[in-house]
Amino acid sequence: MDFELLTNPFYQRALATAGFIGFANGFFSGFVVLRRNALSVSALSHTMLPGIALGIFLTGALSQWNAFFGAMFAALLVGLGSVAVARGNRVEQGTALAVLYTAAFAAGIALLPKLDTRQELEHWLFGDIIAVGNADIWIAFGIGALTLLITNLLMRPILLTLFEPNVAAAQGVPVRFIQYLIFALLVLALVSSLQAVGCVLSVGLLVTPAATVSLLTDRTSALFWGGGLIGCFGSMGAVLLSGKLGIAPGPAIVIVLGLLFIAAYLFSPKYGLFAPKGR
């Protein structure tokens, strides 16, 4: 272990951020896996790019905050828009989402040459966890804490909603509210991982951890807490590793999580490729 890295304040901050974001996103990935909407997450993550471009276009400069709000605004607009269109019962939500997000992405690409901040935009595409400021850490921490608090308080109604929406509705669970809430938290989680891994790779953090756990256990609660732990330690380990190997930390995080998933896929005692069959 390279101890010099650990005394570097940039690295300490990067590690702390990776830990928070990894845990919060990993925890939340449990819902993504349960709802089977990894593809929607991927669509939403692409929507953040035009959002950031729009933020720059409107304010004339690229900063933490207008990137943050631009991304959130665009993801919410496209996401909620797809839910609204799907309520018309003619177009399926996945279809609506694909239409809206590609349109938004195209608008972002059309807008990009008009802006003179292309250099820095790369930073948002792929993230740069070494460059985190204190504000980023607090945003990540705040979003993580909020997500954990809300999902833990509402775990039972959320589970009922995901498992049997019609029974949940009959029991008095505000199903529609819960669905919008999960969606809003999803967007927040995506935005919180912008700084670390950028909008393209953020999907990895929000899907892979719980997908890995789902290969290892059948317990619903383990999906969340296990996802959080894998996200947390996987991300921190990846940041350390990236310093040693000299690769960018954002991609390193997603690569490490991906490798953990592949390991679980191969060697899971129950669902792995090499697991004894015919139980």
Binding site: L34, P157, A169, G172, R219, T220
Partner: protein
């Protein structure tokens, strides 16, 4: 059926009646169920029979409070049931369940206690006991840590029944419970439903195999959007009525 001893009812000798009067359900503008009335009481097993699209599932869901009714009343123990009640447990059709949901049998049965515990309260000793009791009485002890997809069809039905018991439901509403079960599992589930009814519960199930109705049920409601007949199985399953309902020849040995 009268004179059955009810172990699970609070007052023995008292029949808990379910009375449905003039129940209609519309989906958008399509009439799914028209003017259904019936009266039955706990201890009975009621079959809902009729062709596809006759409204069997809709009736079950309407009783369970899962679909809104456009008119009619449902009385349970003399009180009007307006929305979902813990006394009613709905067991969905097999294909409507998300079997790959990462939940164990025990987790599923615990869900049955959520109405009692609310959103936040921790499981009390009584809750845990109810869950344990439900798991034991349905013989799921060895299976309680299994993911729900790893169960056989009959075991899956038992897991949902266990959840209904943990919920302390009196009326069990089952949507095509025997579909897809092999002979053995079918027999087992039949015995189980009989036992649950003898203990004082009211079992209502949609069913499509006319041959097994007499063995599995006490009463039958023949539906074709409107109710065609209701009463004890022996009186209801007349060749004429079956012909009229299904437009098909009657199985030889009824």
């Amino acid at each position: 059926m009268s004179g059955t001893h009810h172990d699970c009812c609070a007052h023995h000798g008292h029949h808990h009646e379910l009375v449905i009067e003039h129940l209609s359900v519309c989906y958008r503008r399509v009439l799914a169920l028209e003017d259904v009335s019936l009266a039955t009481s706990c201890g009975n097993r009621v079959a809902l029979i009729g062709p596809n699209g006759a409204g069997k599932s809709t009736l079950l869901k309407a009783i369970a409070g899962l679909v809104p009714r456009s008119s009619g009343t449902i009385l349970w123990r003399g009180t009007a049931v307006r929305k979902w009640s813990r006394e009613f447990a709905y067991l969905p059709q097999r294909e409507e369940v998300d079997w790959s949901f990462p939940i164990t049998v025990r987790g599923l049965v615990e869900m049955g206690r959520y109405p009692q515990t609310g959103w936040w309260r921790k499981f009390s000793e009584k809750d845990t006991e109810a869950v344990n009791h439900a798991i034991e009485s349905l013989n799921l002890n060895d299976l309680q840590d299994r993911q729900i997809r790893e169960l056989s069809g009959g075991q899956q039905q038992r897991a949902f029944l266990a959840r209904a018991l943990a919920q302390e439901a009196h009326v069990l509403l089952l949507d095509e419970p025997f579909t897809g079960l092999d002979r053995n599992a079918s027999q087992l589930l039949g015995d189980l439903l009989e036992k649950l009814a003898r203990e004082g519960r009211l079992v209502i199930a949609s069913h499509h195999d006319l041959n097994t109705v007499p063995r599995l049920f006490d009463e039958a409601l023949v539906l074709a959007t409107r109710p065609l007949a209701f009463g004890p199985v022996a009186e209801i399953l007349t060749p004429e009525l079956i012909e009229k309902t299904f437009h098909e020849p009657v199985p030889a040995h009824i």
